[in-house]
């Protein structure tokens, strides 16, 4: 009896170190975010205010939604290269139709989300690599967007622009939206019982299928929800820029992937963290501002942003190797 107890206690103490490293690994993007904020505030103490936060994180809202859309797809072990082009298309539709013909705009959104689900179905039923299918989709989205709106233009509905510049109490809108998105994602993906099935389908689809679930249904659902989240990204982006532009968001595709991986996701599927993804998206969007504050010349900024991403990811990899 005492033998068993000793074994159990030995087991739990040997678990403590990996658990700490695990927590550190999850917390790393948050730490990176805090470090960046501290640097910015030490350079410009005035930024440490409601309005400062508002300006710093204003542009992160669409990226948060785009990253969550990407996270849904990565959860299944796929990747979505059409995410950015899709967001661009949504800004075009929103700027063109939402003000004058809201019904038409809604119909367009629904058709596009259904198309997303359809591509999910195609990827599943034909066993195609998602990277190829979504690359093809990205050209389709871009093509439609350019046909609709050959040059940037149109106008965001007044209410949408007003909403995006709304200043709610306590925290800026961007922080509220990020927090709500993270909370909702956490509840649905990490906590709910259906979320466990979704993550299971990413980790071992055969096992989930054998337990009697329809993996094809799961894939269609997940792709449709990725489409919905990308729609939200497009809507909020239009509200910020107040116009539509087919080429406004190509960078979202890979920034979204970066945010998911930064936030603790893995390309193998099944391992994603909505909270981590949101923090990752905030980190990546703040990296640009940080470099401006550090007075890095614009020509160097993209490269420097890459260095930051690389450093944080390398830190994660090192920590996860330690934890093993």
């Amino acid at each position: 009896m005492s033998d068993t107890a000793a074994r159990v206690s030995a087991r739990s103490s040997s678990n403590a170190r990996p658990a700490l490293l695990n927590a550190l690994q999850v917390g790393l993007p948050a730490v990176a975010l805090l470090v960046m904020l501290v640097i910015i505030f030490s350079i410009r103490p005035a930024a440490m205010s409601y309005f400062g936060f508002h300006l710093l994180f204003k542009l992160s809202v669409p990226l948060v939604f785009a990253a969550l859309a990407q996270m849904m797809v990565i959860m299944l072990g796929d990747i979505d290269l059409s995410n950015g082009a899709f967001v661009g298309l949504i800004t075009c539709i929103t700027a063109l139709y939402l003000q004058d013909a809201p019904a038409l705009a809604l119909l367009c959104y629904l058709v596009l989300i259904a198309a997303y689900a359809g591509f999910g179905l195609l990827i599943h039923s034909r066993q195609l690599p998602s990277i190829i299918v979504t690359l093809g989709m990205s050209f389709i989205w871009l093509g439609i967007a350019v046909i609709l709106l050959p040059a940037p233009g149109g106008a965001a509905p007044v209410w949408l622009a007003a909403f995006m510049s709304w200043q709610p109490p306590l925290m800026p809108l961007s922080i509220w939206l990020a927090a709500l998105a993270a909370l909702a994602g956490h509840l649905v993906i990490s906590r709910s019982s259906y979320g466990a099935v979704l993550r299971g389908a990413g980790g071992n689809p055969r096992a989930v299928e054998r337990a009697g679930w329809s993996v094809i249904g799961i894939r269609v659902t997940v792709y449709a929800s990725a489409g919905l989240l990308a729609c939200l990204a497009g809507l909020t982006l239009t509200g910020l820029t107040t116009s539509g532009d087919a080429n406004v968001a190509p960078a979202y595709t890979l920034l979204g992937v970066g945010a998911v991986i930064l936030g603790g996701g893995a390309f193998t599927g099944g391992v994603v963290s909505p909270v981590g993804t949101v923090i990752g998206a905030l980190t990546l969007s703040l990296a640009g501002s940080l470099l401006s504050f550090l007075q890095v010349p614009p020509t160097w900024q993209i490269g420097a942003q890459g260095v930051i991403l690389f450093l944080v990811l390398a830190g994660r990899v090192l920590l996860s190797e330690r934890a093993r």
Partner: protein
Amino acid sequence: MMNDPTPPKKDAAETGDADSLLIEVRDVRKHYDAVHALGGVDFHLKPGEVVGLVGHNGAGKSTLMNVLAGTVERSSGSFRLGGREIGAWSAASAQQAGLRCIFQELSLCANLTSAENTRIVHRPLRGLGWRRRARQVIGPVLDEIFPGHGIDLDRKVADLPIGERQMVEIARAFTQTGIKLRAVILDEPTSALGHEATEQLLAHIRRAAGRGIACILITHRLNEILAVCDRTVVMVDGKVVAERPTAGLSRAALVELMGSIERPRDRSAGKAASVRAPVIRHAGCDTADLTIEVGKGEIIGFAGLDGHGQRERLRAMFYAARRQREALPGAYVAGDRGSEGVFSLWSIADNLTIRSLNALTRGGMISSAAARKLAETWSDRLKVKAPSIDTPILSLSGGNQQKVLFARALASDAEVIFLDDPMRGVDVGTKQEVYRLIRAEAENGRSFVWYTTELEELTNCERIYVFREGRAATRLEGNAIETGRILQASFGGEHV
């Protein structure tokens, strides 16, 4: 406590009658193209009965279980469950009917915790507090089967050692929520369990049977069958060949039943094999592991149950042969065509000549004329059925693809050819052609080292090594190569 997701109600009443059959299948067949995995099987299971299922590799045990569990669709045959005729069958309906299966390869989601994995198989575990309820479902079962297991239910399965994963998977199959558990199929459940856990599992199977839960146990460890099963079913080549009450059955009798079909042999018997000096000597990892000797022109077979170290040894020999300076050139014919055999986008000719590029090079470039000639010669000699040698390899049938892989090895300068169970899933006609070719090439002085999971192929060999637990344990030569002795050696030396 749980809401009830509509189990078929009327069956519950029927199974109350102890004499009625829980599962009854008649003349079930399953074929994949030309390959017959099941050739008309009759099988039945009573409530609370424990049935052992034994047979050599590829006897169709796992296929039969997959048919019952709904993960493989039967090609024909009738299937009655609790007296009701079943038409289309699926994994979901098997779950609904209270039929669970522990598959040979682990079917837990490694990225989830044990509690979350429990939720995957139990639909009622949803809504607020599902995590707590899931722990309450799996925890007590785990404690009952494996007392003192010490598994943290909130730890990711990927972080558990393999033995504990197996325990979780077994316990999960015995959990119950809204649907009454009626039968559990255990396919090699003890492969990763230690001695103590195995004993605990076997005891639990008997306990479960006492509660009316039927079990089907598939294992190569015959002692386990003899210890817990009421009845033993023996399968050979996709058919049930024997069915006996376990009481009074012995290990030897079981092994004999498995080898009951004696196959015709057409071996040139009496070849004085050991006279020739070996061209390869490959020492084992310890004294229990035999040294493998290959003579010029010999066909050496690797036998034993699948996954007992034959492939590893074959590869070790291949790489060892390559590393030696004055070694004979070797070639390796892969059994897993898709992942390590064919270049799927290339033509037959490109696939066939890749091993011979050095010989086809003229002044640093590949001579396409020489390459075509070589490809044509060998695809003719192996009678590859294709319109031309420029046909993409994937448009060929599996058997013809395998012929191209054989041609790749035979067309090369290799003097020792390593065969990694290459005839798996190939039709009988092709097999016979390839056997003839192998024997002809051996006459010409080429040596073959041949790992096969099919007993009849071993009759082509002059000497075989039977593998057990990762070691070449038994050496059989000449007329000693017969099904019974191979089976005896494969299953022998069991310590439980």
